[in-house]
């Protein structure tokens, strides 16, 4: 092989690597964007659910004990700027209470939350898998984008209890 041929092969290999990296970067960017959109959707669904629960709980058709219970957890979930762990806890609490107190018109919002929650965590899983690929780690393709975080919350049907009761 002449030096010129060797050079040509090297250029082609470098181009191929570059193309692959930029393709990965594009996919990564898309995955991050999707996580952001889905978080926005989940956030909105959660807020609407809490508001709907509050509204229904303040209506006349409900006993005051149920009303107080729902208002308490819904109000706690609606507090602005919670850190993610606290938000997860409070939204899970709201799910648990809503599973026990049937409220008119809230079921739809709960279903929307369930859907948005699944879609969000699915997007997070995709992005995390991409970020773990060796070439992404090696070339730091993720840049400064924050590590996407799954939103761990109880939705109706999978209610687990913390240990210890306060009576």
């Amino acid at each position: 092989m002449t030096p010129a041929e060797l050079f040509a092969v090297l250029v082609i290999v470098l181009l191929a690597i570059g193309w692959r990296l930029s393709w990965l970067a594009t996919r990564l960017d898309r995955a991050h964007t999707r996580v952001e959109r889905r978080w926005a959707a989940l956030d909105a669904a959660l807020v609407r659910r809490a508001q709907a629960a509050l509204e229904a709980a303040r209506g006349a058709a409900i006993d005051p004990a149920s009303s107080l219970l729902v208002c308490d957890v819904a109000a706690a979930a609606l507090v602005a700027d919670l850190d993610p762990a606290a938000r997860e806890q409070r939204e899970s609490d709201l799910s648990r209470v809503l599973a026990l107190v049937p409220l008119d018109g809230v079921a739809t919002y709960s279903e929307r939350v369930e859907l948005a929650h699944r879609l969000h965590n699915d997007a997070v899983a995709t992005a995390s898998a991409l970020r773990r690929r060796p070439s992404v780690v090696l070339f730091r393709l993720a840049g400064h984008a924050a590590e996407p975080r799954a939103f761990e919350m109880a939705v109706s049907g999978e209610l687990t209890w913390p240990r210890g009761f306060v009576g």
Partner: protein, 401 residues
């Protein structure tokens, strides 16, 4: 008087509100009234098959409570149409002259009873109040219920402030009651006799005679951080360094690996508790939060143990009562108050109490505790009943069929 007493917490679990309701019911029965308790779960006397021990206190179960997240922790509560129906049926069957509801603003049968009651209502506020944000949002729906309270009672000055601030109502301050005689040492002539009979009947744990070693006692759930056992354990090395051999006794529910040099007794009976306190030099209460009253401090004071407690508002109310400091001129409190969670301050206070007990303090503490005996507290509560009945329009109730 036919009095309906509503307790939102189950008697299956120990608790200050439950003890208060039960003690009040017994005292009312002794005074010739007909108290009838509504509470979730089962009544202890029924569980243990000692129906007669309940005396003339009737009991109705409101069904099992359900564990739900409320107010930042897990609460066992009753709610929903089924519970509401049970409460209404109890009210109708009881045909009460008055209902006395404890912790009315909790998601429980207490609030349901307040909602459904058509007779005069007296309500006692112990500690539970909704978060202020909850109150803002649920306030409208709750206002009608809050208005139905004819007379409010708060168990302490701090509980009263919360009622005024959060609910916009006022309340009389009437403390929790307890059985002073059960904790105070028996008079000398009876002493030999009771110890003799006790020795025969006493089931394990055995009796707790005062030993030569100073005894430091802790009561309360051992696995609940808010009771603060860990603070005492952290203070132990310093206490041992100062006093040498110390008998440390810990009694309360829950299982933890036994800490070195500590006697873990597990849950004990009221009688054993009284005996344990009478044989204790120092009773420590390193609680962190949420003690509404602190009846256990009064029990220790009645039994003659020196008290070292964390500076919770409720404990400070008992150990540094404003009127005592004012009238008797002395600045000496009835026990030592230490900063919450401060192990070294706790150790120091225990050392000081054992080495140089302030003269006359235990006697003054015992006299103070006597004021919280049921014989003093129950008449104050019945006075509220009478004042309420005298000023409420008589309702002509149609008995539904």
């Amino acid at each position: 008087m036919r009095i309906g007493l509503v307790c939102p917490y189950s008697f299956d679990a120990p608790g200050g509100v439950q003890n208060h309701v039960l003690g009040l019911a017994r005292q009312l029965a002794r005074a010739g009234h007909q108290p009838h308790i509504l509470a979730p779960g089962l009544f202890p006397e029924l569980v243990e098959g000692r129906r007669e021990a309940a005396g003339r206190v009737e009991f109705t179960s409101a069904g099992q409570a359900i564990a739900v997240p409320y107010n930042g922790s897990i609460a066992r509560v009753n709610f929903g149409p089924l519970s509401a129906t049970r409460v209404r049926r109890w009210l109708r069957a009881g045909d009460f002259d008055l209902v006395h509801i404890h912790e009315p603003i909790t998601p429980s049968i207490a609030l349901l009873a307040l909602w459904a009651a058509d007779v005069p209502v007296v309500a006692t506020f112990h500690t539970a109040t909704p978060r202020s944000r909850t109150m803002q949002l649920a306030g409208g729906a709750l206002r009608a219920s809050i208005e139905k309270i004819d007379a409010g009672i708060a168990v302490s000055e701090s509980a009263r402030r919360v009622v005024v601030h959060h609910l916009g109502r006022d309340a009389m301050v009437i403390p929790n009651g307890f059985d002073f005689a059960a904790f105070a040492p028996p008079p000398p002539e009876k002493w030999a006799q009771t110890t003799a009979t006790r020795r025969v009947n006493l089931s394990p744990p055995p009796s707790f005679p005062r030993s030569r070693r100073p005894r430091v006692t802790f009561l309360g759930r051992v696995d609940e951080p808010r009771k603060g056992l860990d603070v005492l354990l952290r203070a132990l090395p310093a206490i041992r360094a100062g006093l040498g051999d110390v008998d440390v006794v810990v009694a309360g529910q829950g299982s933890i690996p036994a800490p070195a040099g500590v006697r873990l007794l597990g849950a004990i009976s009221d009688e054993d508790k009284a005996q344990l306190l009478r044989g204790s030099d120092v009773f420590v209460a390193p609680h962190r939060e949420r003690e509404s009253f602190g009846i256990v401090l009064l029990e220790a004071m009645a039994a003659g143990a020196s008290v070292v407690a964390s500076a919770l508002p409720a404990f400070a109310d008992l150990l540094r009562p404003a009127d005592l400091l004012r009238t008797e001129g002395g600045s000496d409190p009835l026990g030592e108050l230490v900063p919450i969670g401060d192990a070294s301050a706790l150790a120091e206070a225990v050392l000081a109490t054992v080495r140089r007990p302030p003269p006359g303090r235990t006697a003054r503490a015992r006299e103070r505790a006597r004021r919280y005996d049921w014989s003093e507290v129950a008449p104050a509560i019945t006075a509220v009943y009478h004042a309420t009945l005298a000023t409420t329009a008589p309702t002509r109730r149609v008995i539904a069929t």
